[in-house]
């Protein structure tokens, strides 16, 4: 068996065994995740929250759990939720399925408590337009209902009427939200990103352009801990943790071999 096959087999076992055994692990919320939770806690009841679903199937396993945990918190707090997608039309269907699943659990009604604005191309143009009048860019929701016919949009015109924007991004869309919504209109912005994108958001957290940040499966698991509802992320964390440990061991073992060779 070659070294590569041994590595692959060990990674497979490291992922599969903790998942099959159902090992649980408690995670401690980090400051950016706590800040995200507190930002939602601070919103007045029935405020409107806009969620950008900007992640595709490739990142679904780490993004869906944080999306579900956030929705759980938003609906628990009786906040209104509108979703839209600015990256790809194909990001939204998964987002709608998750939204409907959580909304059903809370007995929320379409048009009153939540709505789907659909996909709109032209990222920056759409973000800027939302700052003027939402009906200019979304005269109807994704199902073709005029926005004025949906009770949850009564009196909603622009960012002044949106309490919080959450962008769940696997790409650069959150940067556009910062540039064109936060910097220009002072929108309160929270992001959920993949684990590899987490480090690049820290400058915006420090400058307070982001009110909070969830990164990867760990961020989702931390949020699940805060809302006291362990879900997909909490179940996946032990597998991720074992793989992390395995990678550390691989690095140490590889360097031990390198050091031995160097001494010779």
């Amino acid at each position: 068996m070659t070294a590569r096959r041994i590595v692959y087999t060990l990674v497979f076992l490291a992922v599969a065994v903790p998942l099959l055994l159902g090992i649980r692990a408690r995670v401690e919320p980090s400051p950016p995740v706590k800040a995200a939770y507190e930002a939602i806690e601070a919103l007045p009841e029935s405020s409107l929250v806009l969620i950008g679903i900007d992640f595709g199937p490739s990142t679904m396993p780490e993004m869906n759990p944080m999306y579900e945990a956030l929705l759980e918190h938003l609906f628990r707090r009786n906040l209104r939720v509108a979703v839209l997608s600015l990256q790809s039309a194909l990001d939204l269907p998964n987002g709608i399925q998750v939204l409907e699943k959580v909304a059903r659990r809370f007995g929320k009604r379409y048009g009153v408590d939540y709505a789907n604005l659909g996909y709109k191309p032209g990222l920056e143009a759409v973000i800027v337009s939302l700052g003027q009048e939402i009906r200019d860019i979304f005269p109807e929701d994704a199902q073709g209902h005029p926005l004025d016919s949906l009770p949850m949009f009564r009196g909603v015109h622009n960012y002044n009427d949106i309490a919080l924007v959450i962008d769940l991004a696997s790409g650069g869309t959150y940067g556009s939200w910062i540039q064109f919504a936060q910097a220009r209109f002072g929108v309160k912005l929270l992001v959920g990103v993949t684990a590899v994108m987490g480090p690049e958001t820290y400058p915006y957290l420090q400058s307070r352009q982001l009110v909070g940040m969830l990164a990867g499966l760990k961020g989702a698991a931390e949020y699940e801990t805060l809302i006291q509802r362990p879900g997909l992320a909490s179940r996946g964390m032990p597998a991720q943790a074992v793989v992390h440990l395995l990678i550390i061991l691989f690095i140490l073992y590889g360097n031990w071999g390198f050091w031995k060779q160097w001494r010779r």
Binding site: F12, P57, M60, P93, R184, P203, G254
Partner: protein
């Protein structure tokens, strides 16, 4: 005229959008221009698709990478057919439409699988390539190991503090430096395009 027209148009529109960020009365027109940009972008997508299909048809003619090109063309036209059928059935993007079936049971598992493979490649790369050859590599290795330990539920109590410090201080400083550098580069390039020193749209 063939070259001057696009140049003048891009300079005027570029400057207009830039100035409108600071001059409120210009924002109405800026809004319209940004909507035009969206429409032009949609046409560019069509051009890109035509190019992609032509390229793979050429592959078939030349006998290069035939299986891959066949799969791409089959996937493209198959999804298109299902999409058109779903469109006439009602809302193609309805979560329960045939197009979304293709999305949920073909595209999503394929993309998730491709992304999952990264774990295997990453582990293999860590074993083979992450060598402490100098001081910088040692620092990188230490930071990586500490951050990973800080992300593991069983060790995070010990490493959470230092992990957060690494993320909030050295990482932040490096990220900000990179972002400022990228932004300056982007501003430089934008100015070159605005003043006609760079004309990628004429190529």
């Amino acid at each position: 005229m063939k070259r001057t027209g696009p140049f003048v148009l891009s300079v005027v529109i570029g400057l207009w959008i830039l100035v409108a960020f600071f001059v409120k009365p210009l924002r109405g027109a800026q809004q319209t221009l940004l909507l035009w940009y969206t429409i032009v972008g949609a046409f560019a997508l069509v051009v890109g698709l035509i190019n992609l299909i032509q390229s793979h048809l050429r592959n078939l003619q030349r006998g290069q990478n035939v299986p891959y090109s066949l799969i791409l063309l089959f996937g493209f036209f198959g999804t298109l057919a299902v999409g058109i059928y779903a469109f006439f059935q009602g809302n193609a993007f309805d979560p329960y439409s045939p197009l979304m079936w293709v999305y949920g049971y073909v595209l999503a598992p394929l993309q998730s699988t491709m992304f999952s493979l990264l774990a295997f490649f990453l582990a293999s790369a860590a074993f083979r390539a992450f060598r402490i050859r100098n001081m910088e590599a040692l620092l990188l290795l230490l930071a990586a190991v500490i951050v990973m330990l800080g992300r593991i539920p069983w060790t995070e109590h010990t490493f959470a503090g230092i992990t957060e410090w690494i993320m909030a201080i050295p990482n932040l400083a490096a990220q900000r430096g990179i972002q400022i550098g990228v932004a300056l580069g982007a501003i430089g390039m934008a100015l070159r395009i605005l003043f006609g020193l760079e004309r990628p749209y004429l190529r």
